[in-house]
């Protein structure tokens, strides 16, 4: 598999302090990568940097072999999509929210409607089409947020703990559905979580971040069986307890 993303000597700073440092890392096209780590380990910074919403202090990220600094920022952002922890829907209908990214791209109304309906069905929320965002439950809103990202059919989807604000049953159900969706879709996905079970269920590969560095990458079973060092072992132990 060719690499969609290549990272070289990446350093990201906030307020003059290093918050993320990755010497080298690749994300092959079509991979489902799950990123785990404790709070403040640099997971979200990693996603924001991949989305070109944060700019590295040094090093580079290559997308399809070209450095992000050589990409037109808007053109690059239109090849990816981002789902945050909270749905962050706009005060408009579900249909309008889901079609937003397509509208940004100047796609025709008919095509927007067809693609929006396809993804609303896919996520089981077609009955909510005309509902306003403020009238949705937490689970419904997060489904809308996922539909809004998937409808763009981008090369790379970045999901930053999208289920963290949901109650456990809603979370488990949506996780099952997302797992099936990603298996069928073969889209390159980076999923951030601090839940090992979610990582096991979703990730073909798991990356463990600790204190702003990438400590270990590999299949979930391998990481559980042979943690790279004591800090990773202690973090995994904490997750299990």
């Amino acid at each position: 598999m060719s690499a969609l993303i290549q990272i070289r000597d990446l350093v990201v700073q906030r307020n003059g302090r290093n918050v993320l440092a990755i010497a080298g890392f690749e994300i092959p096209r079509g991979e489902r990568l799950t990123v785990i780590g404790p709070n403040g380990s640099g997971k979200s910074t990693f996603l924001l940097t991949l989305a070109h919403l944060l700019h590295p202090a040094s090093g580079e990220i290559l997308f399809e072999g070209r450095s992000l600094t050589q990409w037109n920022e808007l053109k690059y952002r239109r090849r990816i999509s981002f789902v945050f922890q909270d749905p962050l829907l706009l005060d408009m209908t579900v249909e309008q929210n889901v079609g937003l990214g397509l509208k940004f791209r100047g796609i025709s109304k008919d095509e927007i409607q067809a693609r929006v309906m396809k993804w609303l069905k896919q996520l089981g929320i077609e009955s909510l089409t005309k509902r306003r965002a403020g009238q949705l439950s937490g689970g419904e809103a997060q489904r809308v947020s996922l539909a809004r990202a998937f409808v763009l059919e981008p090369e790379l989807i970045l999901l930053d703990e999208p289920f963290s604000s949901l109650d456990p049953p809603a979370r488990a159900k949506l996780l099952d559905e997302l797992s099936v969706l990603l298996t069928e879709d073969h889209r390159t996905t980076v999923f951030v979580t601090h839940d090992l079970r979610e990582a096991v269920q979703l990730g073909s590969r798991v990356a463990v971040f600790m204190e702003g560095t990438l400590r270990q990458v590999g299949p979930a079973r391998q990481i559980k069986a042979r943690p790279a060092d004591e800090t990773v072992a202690a973090f995994l132990k904490e997750l299990k307890s």
Binding site: A51, L74, R77, I80, L88, D91
Partner: protein, 217 residues
């Protein structure tokens, strides 16, 4: 009070001058307030504090400064604008623009800052992002517009000082009320006051109904 042509002329001029000043304030305040709310630069807090101070500018002080500037011997005296409706529009814009700017900044700052990143992450250009943020903040932005208009339709000090209250030329409702009161014509002053209140009420009623329709949707 009879609705003679003079009253109509005064009323029309009041509306024309204050509406123009409000529109100019909006054209300045909306982009400037947006820039202040979304920007992350050195001196931002200082500029915001100046704008917030500007929201409480006394109209007579504005009138004095504009009068000195436009006075025949002043720096812009050659423009011959003193005692013209344009001078009143300039003064009212100076009163209203900080209000629209400050309330625009406050309205946009109240939106979850992650929404900007979310919109960019969905492929929005900067202009598309700003447009949607304005849309999200449309109710407080309309309140900013109402506050801006309210501050100028009701002010008297600046209009008197830079307009001169010249009959048929720069007399507006507030300056006419002051004149009639000075002459002891309290009935005339009361009638003009009632007219001013009715006009202000009708305009705010229209804006409020637009605002509330937006809130219910």
């Amino acid at each position: 009070m009879t609705f003679d042509p003079e009253i109509w002329q005064i009323t029309f001029l009041s509306l024309q001058v204050s509406a123009l000043a409000t529109v100019i304030s909006l054209l300045i305040g909306l982009p400037f307030g947006t820039w202040l709310a979304l920007g992350n630069f050195r001196g931002r807090s200082f500029i915001l504090s100046i704008i917030n101070t500007g929201m409480a500018l006394p109209p007579v002080v504005v009138g004095l400064v504009v009068a000195i500037t436009l006075w025949r011997s002043g720096p812009l005296g050659d423009l011959n604008l003193i005692y013209t409706p344009v001078a009143i529009i300039i003064a009212q814009t100076i009163i209203s623009a900080p209000i629209v700017t400050g309330l625009t900044a406050a309205a946009l700052e109240a939106i979850d800052p992650r929404l900007q990143q979310q919109l960019l992450g969905l492929g929005a250009s900067r202009a598309q992002m700003v447009w949607l943020l304005w849309r999200e903040a449309r109710l407080p932005l309309l309140a900013a517009l109402m506050a801006g208009f309210g501050s100028v339709i009701s002010e008297v000090g600046a209009s008197m000082m830079v307009g001169g209250n010249i009959k048929g030329q720069t007399r507006v409702l507030t300056t006419a009320i002051v004149l009639e009161t000075g002459k002891g014509e309290f009935n005339q002053a009361l009638a003009l006051s009632a007219l001013l209140l009715v006009i202000t009420y009708l305009i705010n009623l229209a804006l409020t109904s637009i605002q509330q329709r937006g809130a219910r949707r």
